[in-house]
């Protein structure tokens, strides 16, 4: 009898209680490199059960490492002693009841498929390619393999396997420290094209071989790389959750079905989009479905989980904002750059933080390659810059969107190093506020 079966059995053995179990078997192989050599290699495994127990509107949560049925039963008996002493949560109605299943198919284990030997072979070839230009490579090459079982007292019994892989590589000049970034992320490593990866990286390395300048604070016309616009949406997505609406922090409060951005902007949360890391369920175990968030500039849906669907009487959406896809526009990147007389190309963002989430005001910095565009051409490398902006102003200032999108891998880094992807184009922003220079690269 598997532990998954034990969990289902426990749900039946205690009819006076309701259980919501999430059991994770997680493994990672994590190669970290710097100065074109290995920093360290890490292999980790963990087995952890997250459990929420409900008695009416009272609840208690706990986690167990290396759980067994006996350990779990002991813990439940302890909780039974405690739970009656707890106050009720009047907003709690029920645990997840969506029993719809995604297909439980086995996935290739990328930890086995892409061995450390193979990773090192790939990294060696990339290091050799950038070496003549006096660049070294830094970054991470990660593969995870994770199985999650979701079992609850409403009969939910689901399994999800994922094995994302990500190469996040920065090439850094030996003397100037000018940095450029190239990345790959997904589930199918067969789609990784080393020659193309090196070709794209080398284009950036060559662009980085220009004089370094500083620019004054002020408003600039900028091209935001796909990763940058993706990060802004990632931050804004926090305002699209029902939880933020309930907490009074949502920019979208009172804006449902209203025009909030230019009609050229459309955004969906779609785990089925090709090339993306596909997740089957949200954290409650609800099927993760496509949700339209912004349609032609109109805000269409909040992301609503089980708890807030009851509390706020909103329909569950199943989305978690982990697969954001922006609709492409009509211009090529070359056309977008060629139309700029004096502006910036921004490759990546760093250390953003909201000043006021409801107003979407934040500050942050550019990183990994900021370039000056003059008369339609990239002419210089620019020191990293600080911006202090409202995301809503940035989106309202978008004038052009590239006619293609790119898969951008991201990671939440903490916990189980959750790797997710988004699909974004380059965008042109007419007025982007640079508030200061870092005076460093």
């Amino acid at each position: 009898m598997s532990f998954r079966d034990d969990l289902a059995q426990i749900c039946e053995e205690y009819p006076e209680l309701k259980f919501d179990f999430r059991f994770m078997e997680w493994e990672t192989d994590f190669c970290r490199f710097y100065q074109s050599q290995i920093n360290y290699n890490i292999s980790k495994t963990s087995f952890i059960l997250y459990a929420d127990i409900y008695k009416g509107k009272k609840s208690y949560g706990f986690s167990l490492v290396n759980p067994t049925k006996n350990l779990l039963t002991e813990k439940i008996e302890e909780v039974k002693e405690i739970i009656d002493q707890l106050p009720e949560d009047p907003d709690f109605v029920d645990i997840e009841d969506d029993l719809t299943k995604s297909e439980e198919k086995e996935k290739i284990n990328n930890i086995e498929k892409v061995s450390l030997e193979k990773k090192i072979s790939i990294l060696s070839q990339i290091a050799e390619a950038v070496k003549p230009f006096h660049f070294n490579i830094f970054g991470t090459f990660i593969a995870n393999y994770q199985t999650v079982f979701m079992v609850n007292s409403n009969g939910l019994n689901k399994k999800e396997i994922s094995s994302p892989i990500m190469l996040q590589l920065k090439a850094v000049h030996e003397e100037t420290e000018v940095t450029v970034l190239e990345s790959f992320g997904g589930e199918n490593f067969d789609t990784f094209d080393l020659d193309l990866f090196i070709k794209n990286l080398m284009m950036k390395v060559k662009a980085a071989d220009k004089k370094i300048i500083d620019v004054e604070p002020g408003e600039y016309e900028v091209i935001l790389a796909p990763r940058c616009i993706g990060e802004y949406f990632d931050y804004l997505e926090g305002s699209m959750s029902a939880a933020s609406l309930d907490a009074g922090r949502s920019f979208f409060e009172g804006k449902l079905n209203k025009q909030v951005f230019p009609s050229t902007i459309s955004l969906v949360d779609d785990p089925t989009e090709p090339g993306m890391i596909r997740r089957s369920y949200n954290y409650d175990g609800h099927v993760y479905k496509k949700v339209v968030l912004i349609e032609n500039g109109v805000f269409r849906n909040f992301l609503v989980n089980n708890y807030y669907s009851h509390k706020l009487r909103m329909k569950k959406t199943g989305g978690i904002g982990a697969s954001l896809v922006m609709k492409p526009g009509e211009k090529s990147l070359e056309e977008m750059i060629s139309g700029i007389k004096y502006g910036l190309y921004i490759s990546n963002l760093h250390y953003m933080n909201f000043i006021n989430q409801k107003e979407t005001s934040l500050t942050g910095l550019t990183r990994d390659g900021t370039f000056l565009i003059e008369n339609g051409e990239i002419t210089s490398v620019v020191n990293n810059l600080r911006f202090t902006e409202k995301i809503s102003d940035i989106l309202n200032s978008i004038t052009e969107i590239e006619n293609k999108t790119y898969v951008v891998p991201m990671s939440s880094n903490y916990g189980n190093f959750n790797i997710y992807t988004m699909k974004m184009p380059h965008v042109k922003v007419k007025k982007f506020k640079i508030s200061s220079s870092t005076k460093t690269i």
Binding site: I38, N39, Y40, N41, V65, N66, Q85, L86, N353, F417
Partner: protein, 479 residues
Amino acid sequence: MKKLVYDLINKINIPEISFADVRFTSTDSQEIYFEKGELKHFVSKTDAIAVGIRVLINGCWGFAGTTDLSKYSLEKMMKKAIENARTGSKFRKEKVTFEPLKPIVDSYFFKPEEDPFLMDESEKIEFHKKIARKLTKNDKIIHSYVYSEFYRQYKIYANTEGTFVDSLVYDSLPMMYVLASNGKEAMNRTYPGSMNGRRGGFEIIRKVKMEDNTEKIIEEAIKLLDAPRIEEEKADIIIGSGHLALQLHESVGHATEADRIFGKEISYAGKTFIKPSMLGNFKYGSEIVNIYSDSTDPGGMGFHLVDDEGTPGRKVDIIKNGILLDQQTSRECAPQLGLKPSSNMKASFADDYPLVRMTNFCLAPGKGSLEDLIKSTEHGYFIDFTKTWSIDDNRNNFQFTTEIGWRIENGEIKNIVKEPTYYGITPEFWNACDAICGPEEWEFQGTFHCGKGEPGQSMHLSHGVAPARFKNITVNIRV
């Protein structure tokens, strides 16, 4: 568990391995969270065990960790650590080497005044419920929460040099928050602020007197809705201890982590503007600025007998009379800078790889009380309670917003200002420090959530600080 660690370190002590260490941790934690007056989460993690092995083979590190202590799993973990180092050494130009250290065999057991893990659960719940209900007693407060976190970790560290140390520590973290709204905008206040973690048990939660401060933060959050913003370009600012701890953390603490000098954190946390040539001569701050790393002070969460690679706890002057002298280092990177290891290698759990981390990273006290400092300020602002923080890849350009500020005129506190935001360049800012309050104002602040590394680790660490004044700082940031 000591036997398990003994057995592992003895088994791994083979000729191919030039150094190895084994760590074991068992961690308990608990969180109580009330939102809008109601209990939303009461969550615990009990006896979360982990073990990790780090080996050095042919000048390359390999690491493996697991939560599964079965014989099969431990064998697999050892093999993986060896394979990771052996294979990794094929892509390694400079071999890792360092001097041996004398073995240390010792124990440390912290005893809290009030053990949160032995207390009656209903007592903790009632304590927080009272506060939670008080936070909802005003119509303009649209959101509020109060929560506390409790943490206890037992750790064993052993290495192939013969060091064997076990320790037990307790940390606690209290927090409450209100968000006021007038329908047009929303302003928040927290207490005791974001640097709210401390070494200790439930006594920490009692000491900060959250219940006594509920009305104060409600009143301030509401007043902030109609408060003015700072209008001038530049001003003198006095930074309160809670926020100054974060200023120190971001612009000096992380900047002086030596692994950043070598680019080991470029891929995530970033670099530093500090170059090896700056050690011993770079004027980081004004003459009154003295900053040190001290893992020998048991009052802070960064205390240890040895760090997570066997270096005994040390007090190290990082900045003395404004001059940059030393760095926070590992055994690997200290000799590359001509320094002695500073005892700053730490990992959050045994199955995490140790990194150069702040321990108790402190700004030494100056003279006088906060009251005296305010009295001696002709025009400026007293600011505290972090709202937003951001610093660049090189730890050079920072921008902070605090929840609240108080205008000072002729040595007296006047009106409050909303979202005071200031920006600076690290050395220019610390050179503008003209006063630091004395020992009577100096205390440990701390966090449970200092993020670094990949996979990311959240570290508990402390900052000893007293309020300080900085002259002519840019405060005209507008969104």
